[in-house]
């Protein structure tokens, strides 16, 4: 992975560092997963019951139970508070859970599906990264920074982020650990990819399905709309305006400047409403379609109202207080019943409060905004698992060039490794050995949340610093 060589890209004169063996590494990641799935089924079934990997919403075991209730017992899949996912997932994955392949464990087909989902998600990440990269080149060209930036190395962020997503131990755990999260992550990435490449129907279907499956991706609607409106990440609009004003004051008749000026004009193309309207239309069409499908599916079991109550209601009211890596289960286990509703509101508004300020500050970088939203959701959602971290870290890889100056990268790395190892040990100490108690485990959950906060704060400030640096650069250039 480290063996990189410098390859001149066609799109610009900048040196781009490319990963030479992308496909080898990607394929070997897939093979690694397959080896795990086929040779260690017993260990994986143990893994599937770990609270870090499967939550009440994403557990495949619960899905199999729901499918059995629906098909064999022909009662509502939501009976008995076992299954809390979408009825569509039940119809797609349900048959796979009962199919036996050569005496192997019955979840093997689902696992294969998750492997495919992971692979496609990684490819989409790669394409998104390439798109972002070319947008970065274009904007720096139009700002006249290409000469200066040319001296520094630019990493192929798409390749890095795709490989990081594929080889991240958290992603691998999610993929082989029999939870439905790989599908959800895939849909989120699909929607971001669709928005980046301006494929409005794709963005809409990804967003609607992701929201349908796990509710929290709903907040990604804002970055998707910004992406469609402004285009992929670029330096702040101010910069282009500033440069323009300087140039018009100069009145120089150099042909090169004319060319640049045109480029600048195209780069600050203002907010376009047409794709937004299209997106809203497509999104509503898709949601109506999916709701109709769901309605047909749960027709005999209480209808859509029951489905909403058992899926979104379950997510929002934190009914299941079994321990997980989030911070809410302990809180709601301790809180008095008559304050419960109040704190539910507070917790959920916590996410909503952060949406608007961030959207205003980072509207010129919608993809990064999506990453920040995903990170915040993975911290504050009611049933988090390592899958959320996997998604968030995968998106993080997309901005590797802009975030080279993060201060706490080493601390974050050590923290992630330490907490992820400590958390199962504490769980073991509490549940199996009985010498620890819930506080031991919860302490690691708090440390984990703190790490995610550091990640968000540090990366956001590094991104803003990068913008400031670009501004300084442009002022220096225009002065000389």
């Amino acid at each position: 992975m480290k063996e990189e060589d410098e390859v001149k890209t066609k799109s610009s004169t900048m040196k781009e560092k490319k990963l030479t063996r992308f496909w080898e590494w990607a394929i070997s990641a897939i093979i690694f997963r397959l080896i795990l799935i086929f040779f260690f089924p017993d260990h994986l079934s143990q893994l599937a019951s770990r609270p870090e990997v499967s939550t009440p919403v994403t557990s495949l075991r619960r899905l199999a139970e729901g499918y059995w209730l629906k098909k064999q017992a022909s009662i509502s899949p939501y009976a008995g508070s076992m299954y809390h996912g979408s009825p569509l997932l039940l119809s797609v994955l349900g048959p796979l859970t009962v199919t036996d392949v050569d005496g192997q464990s019955s979840h093997i087909l689902c696992s294969l599906l998750f492997v495919i989902a992971d692979f496609v998600a990684a490819l989409l990440l790669r394409a998104t990264g390439q798109k972002l990269q070319s947008a970065y080149f274009q904007s720096s060209n139009s700002l006249g920074l290409d000469k200066i930036l040319g001296a520094s190395e630019i990493y192929a962020s798409g390749d890095i982020s795709a490989l990081f997503y594929l080889w991240n131990p958290l992603t691998i755990l999610t993929c082989v650990g029999s939870s439905t999260s790989p599908i959800e992550n895939f849909l989120v990435i699909l929607s971001i990819y669709g928005a980046c490449t301006r494929l409005v129907p794709l963005a809409a279907v990804g967003w609607v399905l992701a929201t349908h499956l796990s509710l929290y991706p709903a907040v990604l609607g804002i970055p998707v709309i910004l992406l469609l409106g402004y285009g992929p990440d670029s330096p702040p609009k101010k910069l282009f305006l500033q440069k323009n004003s300087v140039e018009t004051a100069d009145h120089s008749s150099d042909s090169r400047l004319h060319h640049v000026k045109q480029g600048t004009d195209s780069a600050i193309s203002s907010f376009s409403w047409k794709p937004i309207v299209l997106f809203i239309l497509w999104a509503s069409a898709w949601s109506i379609y999916i709701l109709a499908l769901c309605g047909i599916s749960v027709r005999q079991n209480g209808g859509l109202q029951e489905m909403f109550k058992r899926t979104y209601g379950f997510i929002l009211t934190v009914e299941d207080l079994s321990p997980n890596i989030g911070v809410l289960w302990y809180f709601f286990a301790e809180v008095f019943d008559f304050f419960r509703n109040f704190f539910l509101l507070v917790i959920h508004f916590n996410i909503l409060f952060m949406i608007l300020p961030l959207a205003i500050r980072m509207k010129h970088r919608p993809c990064f905004l999506a990453f920040v939203y995903v990170a915040i959701c993975s911290m504050l959602k009611t049933y988090p698992s390592v899958a959320d971290s996997a998604l968030c870290l995968g998106l993080f890889g997309l901005f590797i060039n802009q975030l080279l100056d993060m201060h706490f990268s080493f601390v974050l790395f050590c923290g992630y490794v330490g907490v992820n190892l400590l958390s199962p040990v504490m769980h073991n100490l509490w549940i199996w050995r009985g010498t620890g108690n819930a506080n031991f485990y919860y302490a690691t959950a708090i440390a984990y949340a703190a790490l995610q906060i550091i990640l968000v704060v540090d990366s956001a400030s590094a991104m803003l610093n990068h913008d400031r640096w670009l501004r300084k650069l442009t002022t220096t250039i225009t002065k000389t």
Partner: protein, 715 residues
């Protein structure tokens, strides 16, 4: 407004917290030295900081009732002991006869009785089983035709209980070679059991397991427990006989003779509240009967302190037994300890003379004894191997202790024997009565503690201080080295770009990500360590191999894989990046290595504190001192020479097999030196699923390898 202007000034002062951290980091040598010394001193002070034990759970009420064990029970028990002894002297089929006799005598007491038989299992390598719970897959196919061990299980149903809880009595005995002590322990258990069939106050069922320990005490108890809690359904009574039919006729007859019932009749009581393992050994040199308490289970887990307290209280205050816990006898004569103890006593006296209220000193003898006990407690926990068959219970979260009672008189002295039986029987009865009073599980008192005497303990809150001081230098040094290395690179700050737009000044530095190369090398070494940890899988497969060849082939294979890893992934030196000055490269490698060691040691402290404490004592100085020899060679002052010497000693001493031999030599003398012993030791560790094995191979070994690399770094 003026404030605003001030804060906008270029020389902004960092916040106090940040300043403290920066101060610590800038004085890393002195800070780490002080912390380490303080950690060692705190460890030596632990015997002074120990508190007296107290019974925390009120419901236990030990000794509040008069003992009911009568001489009649003792007489019955004595009769049983006599019969057992005579049987054991008789013939070669004593094993069957003894279990048959136990079956009959327990049955006569109007208690439920059954037999449990199990076959020994081949030793298997399960390095990672510590995390998962128990999987005992009995492989039927490989079982050779050997006679099963047949344990007798008697159950008294409590007249007042709901049958949901039980107290377990275990008496291990070897039917092939029954000695007087084992017969006596059976007698003690029998007398108590016969009493308990008659009493009215029982609220919990009593289970007496006379465990046939011909294949090991722990194995038989463990097999019974796993059948009790996790029954295997695919076995049937028939398969036992069919396996050996034809080839071994004796086997079949033995099965029939014992009347071994099929496993469907495995009898259970409720969940277990506590378990007592009773053993009697001969040859006490004390003037009175003495009782030794063994409590360490696997991975340094201890039973609830209340259980030990109850036993200790009853033994000392009701039955005037001399209570002991394990201690290192060799340390009692240590001059060094006596000197430290003397200093502490002197200091205590001085302080007391200043103000009589401030007494903290303890006498020298008490200090030395406390330290010897503490050392033994630390060692037994660190090894992670249970000190008796009570260890099997802790794996099911049941509190259990082994009571080893040694009579002052010979067991053949009949007059003293009945008195001894009465006394120890009453002790066991008292403990059972206390536990019987419990309404909940043991939870009130400590689980994490170290014993410094039978009635003194150090709780987790205190012993953690010593450990925290020991490892505190690690993050400080890692952070300091890292930040030094990152900030000392050529000036290329992103925000403050100079007026002259030279490309060097404006280029994006990937300074904060430079640890990636070092992290890669550290990661590769750790992956190698995982491979080394799994190598015994392969080595075990080789047939007819001695332990000496095993250990040698293990070491050679490890070196070979290390070589392969270097060829495939590159050695830690190959990542030396051309554009950076080399002297920072080793600093970053060291900082990542220290971070990894810190994570590993902290993890281990949660899993098994004592192992982490000992590991930190060994590892931390080396981690802190390691520095490329080339740098020290350059300037030949006293400091660098001393560092070179220390580093060389550490390299030698911390190589795991060598450390093992040094420790063994220090405790037992350097008489015999056999490399095979290391393999035997390691084998014992993984047989008991000890996390210490994982610690040694996954934390200690890679850290040692990386430190050695650092010393040889071509900077």
């Amino acid at each position: 407004m003026s404030k605003m202007a001030k804060s906008g000034s270029p020389m902004k002062k960092p916040r106090p917290l940040v300043r403290i951290v920066l101060l610590l980091m800038s004085h890393r040598v002195i800070v780490s030295f002080l912390c380490f010394i303080a950690g060692v001193i705190a460890l030596l002070l632990l015997p002074i900081l120990a508190k007296n034990t107290y019974i925390s759970e009120n419901a236990l009420m030990p000794g509040s009732a008069n003992p009911m064990l009568s001489t009649q029970d003792v007489l019955d028990a004595e009769k049983l002991v006599d019969e057992l002894m005579s049987l054991s002297l008789q013939s070669d089929d004593a094993g069957i006869e003894i279990s048959r006799m136990l079956l009959k005598s327990v049955g006569d007491l109007s208690a439920e009785v059954s037999q449990f038989q199990f076959y020994p299992q081949a030793n298997k390598f399960h390095p990672l089983q510590f995390f998962s719970s128990h999987f005992n897959d009995p492989d039927q196919e490989n079982r050779t035709c050997i006679s099963p061990s047949v344990s007798t299980v008697g159950i008294v149903r409590a007249p007042h209980g709901d049958g949901k809880e039980a107290i377990i009595l275990v008496t291990p005995y070897n039917p092939l070679k029954l000695d007087a002590g084992e017969a006596l322990s059976l007698g003690v258990a029998y007398s108590v059991f016969s009493l308990l069939t008659k009493v009215t106050w029982l609220a919990k069922d009593i289970v007496w397991l006379a465990a046939d320990s011909r294949y090991g005490e722990h194995e038989s108890v463990d097999a019974w427990l796993s059948e009790y809690y996790a029954p295997t359904f695919h076995r049937s009574g028939k398969s036992h006989i069919n396996l050996c039919s034809g080839s071994n006729y004796h086997q079949v007859t033995e099965n029939l003779a014992v009347g071994a019932e099929p496993l469907e009749s495995f009898r259970r009581a409720g969940t277990m509240a506590a378990a007592l393992v009773i053993k009697v050994v001969n040859g006490s040199k004390d003037s009175q009967d003495s009782l030794s308490i063994y409590a360490e289970a696997s991975n340094g887990q201890m039973p609830n302190l209340d259980l030990i307290n109850v036993v200790n209280y009853l033994a000392v205050h009701r039955h005037s037994l001399h209570v002991r816990v394990g201690k290192f006898w060799s340390l009692l004569e240590s001059e060094c300890l006596k000197m430290i103890g003397g200093t502490i006593e002197f200091l205590g006296n001085v302080v007391r003379s200043l103000n009589p209220q401030w007494g903290f000193g303890i006498p020298v003898s008490e200090y030395v004894e406390g330290t010897a006990t503490l050392a033994s407690s630390l060692y037994a926990q660190a090894l992670g191997v249970p000190t008796g068959s009570h260890g099997a219970f802790r794996d099911y979260q049941i509190d259990a202790v082994t009571l080893v009672i040694s009579p002052k008189a010979s067991p053949y002295n009949l007059g003293k024997r009945s008195e001894f039986l009465l006394r120890s029987g009453r002790l066991v009865e008292g403990v059972i009565r206390s536990v019987n009073n419990l309404l909940e599980k043991f939870h009130q008192s400590f689980f994490l503690y170290l014993l410094t005497g039978s009635s003194k303990f150090v709780s987790v809150g205190i012993y953690m201080i010593a450990f925290a001081l020991l490892i505190a230098p690690l993050p400080v040094v890692a952070a300091s080295l890292y930040s030094d290395a990152v900030t000392s690179q050529p000036e290329s700050d992103m925000v403050e770009c100079s007026e002259s737009s030279s490309s060097a000044a404006l280029s994006i530095s990937c300074g904060s990500w430079r640890w990636l190369y070092a992290a890669k090398s550290v990661f590769v070494i750790h992956i190698w360590a995982v491979v080394v940890a799994l190598l015994p899988y392969l080595i075990c497969e080789i047939p007819n191999i001695t332990s000496r060849t095993c250990s040698i082939s293990w070491i050679l294979l490890s070196l070979f894989t290390l070589h392969i890893f270097y060829n495939v992934f590159g050695s830690p030196y190959s990542s030396v990046h051309s554009s950076y000055p080399h002297n920072e490269e080793w600093a970053i490698l060291k900082s990542v290595m220290i971070a990894a060691a810190f994570t590993g040691v902290s993890l281990m402290s949660v899993v098994n504190f004592a192992a982490a404490e000992i590991g930190a004592l060994l590892l931390v100085p080396f981690c802190l001192m390691a520095q490329p020899l080339k740098l020290d060679m350059g300037n030949s002052n006293v400091k660098s020479l001393a560092r070179i010497a220390c580093n060389m000693v550490c390299v030698l001493c911390l190589f795991p097999p060598f450390t093992f031999f040094v420790m063994k030599g220090l405790s037992e003398g350097f008489s015999c030196f056999d490399i095979g012993e290391f393999w035997t030791w390691v084998e014992s560790l993984w047989l008991w699923n000890s996390a210490t094995y994982l610690y040694v191979v996954l934390v200690h070994l890679p850290c040692w390898v990386l430190c050695t690399h650092l010393l040889l770094h071509p900077c």
